[in-house]
Symmetry: C2
């Protein structure tokens, strides 16, 4: 029997077991009933960040809530590589960075308010919702964790031992990626991208002092902060992440 | 004498020589007079794609047109690496790809209408204007050339001898970038990114038949077309382009 893969894919933050019922929240219920116009019996793929990807079936199209019946596991859990992205929120583009970094497989997104940052607050719930939506669309089995740090000092003082912070140093002082990436030791990694206005002099100073920080540069042109985040994450994923693996979905013909 | 670098930077498609006058078009004139509120004597940096970067001075704030007086060359011409990006225009995001690819240093942008593409026409003047604006902001000395191809056959049949086309094959059939990039021969290169819906089966077939095409893959997740363009261009620039050079501007402190 050929079973086609469900077209709809949802993140549901509940434990999974065959035969269990999942009562969806109002957003996902609305999406299934009014946007996708699902009916009872329709297939939906679901993931919860730890149990892989499961096949579920619309059980009940309630007026306020849709219930799914969990059938069976389609794919074993495949977690994203342990690569973090730390970045200063960018005016009108923070959501874009969250979306792109999720697609590119970052496991955690750390927002940091730097001295020259224009944006002074972010809506964490909204960012998490963007990350979930991007994860649903890119076939990830997990959703990046999102954290907020009030300034660079707070980020660096809470820095976990053994994780190397690759710092996009726009002064050009760091190594280029072609030289740096093949020489990096086996470790866990994070990337740090500054705000539109760049890091302040004292921030650059603390970054250069920290033993776990490794500065790098991305060539002669000025990159916008969102471009820099995507570009750096792509190079680091290609070298240190999981880009040597093949897609686990069926590509459209 | 310490001469600060002008904050305003404009592309002016005219030959440069010291003492010459440049009559700006209505868009740039409006920008200088009404957006930047310049006055006679203000410094402006200008580039034309071949003569490097020059210092100019506002000579006359005419009602309809601003005239600049060319002073002297500040930086010698530095052309972007000979790396092209060919891509299917993407709904609401074609301008974004043009902007990002310009920042990332692509020397030519080739739009190709593929079988599954949603977008069926592009405004070439508007795309060129976006490329100019991005070039002005990222300190490039040149603006990428933009070309349009009616379909993949037209692109491939006009393909220049000796240029390798790196094709982002979403089926996962290609090499991964970490394996491929260090092994590529000295050559000129282009990257090909498909549309949202992927390439059609017959398009995949012609791509696999062409001797100058080299497929690659970018890991297990589905990337949106615009993310894929930025990610691939970043990796290729880091390896084959000019990312080993330092910024030629003074970074903000």
């Amino acid at each position: 029997m050929h079973v086609t893969k469900p077209k709809i894919r949802l993140f549901v933050n509940e434990p999974f077991r065959a035969g269990a019922l999942l009562a969806l929240g109002s957003g996902q219920s609305h999406y299934l009933s009014h946007v996708m116009r699902c009916r009872a019996g329709d297939a939906v793929a679901v993931f919860n960040g730890s149990d892989g990807q499961w096949r579920a079936e619309v059980q009940d199209m309630g007026k306020k809530s849709v219930t799914l019946l969990l059938r069976d596991q389609m794919e074993k859990q495949k977690s994203s590589p342990d690569i973090w992205l730390a970045f200063a929120p960018i005016k009108n583009k923070t959501e874009l960075v969250v979306e792109k970094a999720t697609e590119l497989g970052a496991s955690a997104l750390l927002t940091v308010f730097t001295r020259h940052a224009v944006v002074r607050s972010v809506n964490m719930d909204k960012l998490q919702a963007h990350a979930i939506e991007a994860a649903e669309q890119c076939e990830r089995h997990d959703v990046p964790r999102i954290e907020q740090y009030k300034d660079l000092g707070a980020l660096l003082s809470a820095w976990p031992q053994g994780r190397i912070l690759l710092y996009a140093d726009e002064s050009g002082a760091g190594e280029d990626l072609k030289t740096m990436l093949p020489q990096l030791p086996k470790s866990s990694y994070a990337i740090l991208i500054g705000p539109e206005g760049g890091f302040a002099a004292e921030e650059q100073h603390i970054l250069r002092q920290a033993a776990f920080v490794r500065p790098f540069c991305m060539g002669p042109r000025i990159l916008r902060a969102d471009t820099a985040a995507v570009a750096a994450l792509a190079c680091v994923q290609a070298w240190l992440g999981d880009w040597q693996e093949k897609p686990h979905f069926e590509a459209a013909g």
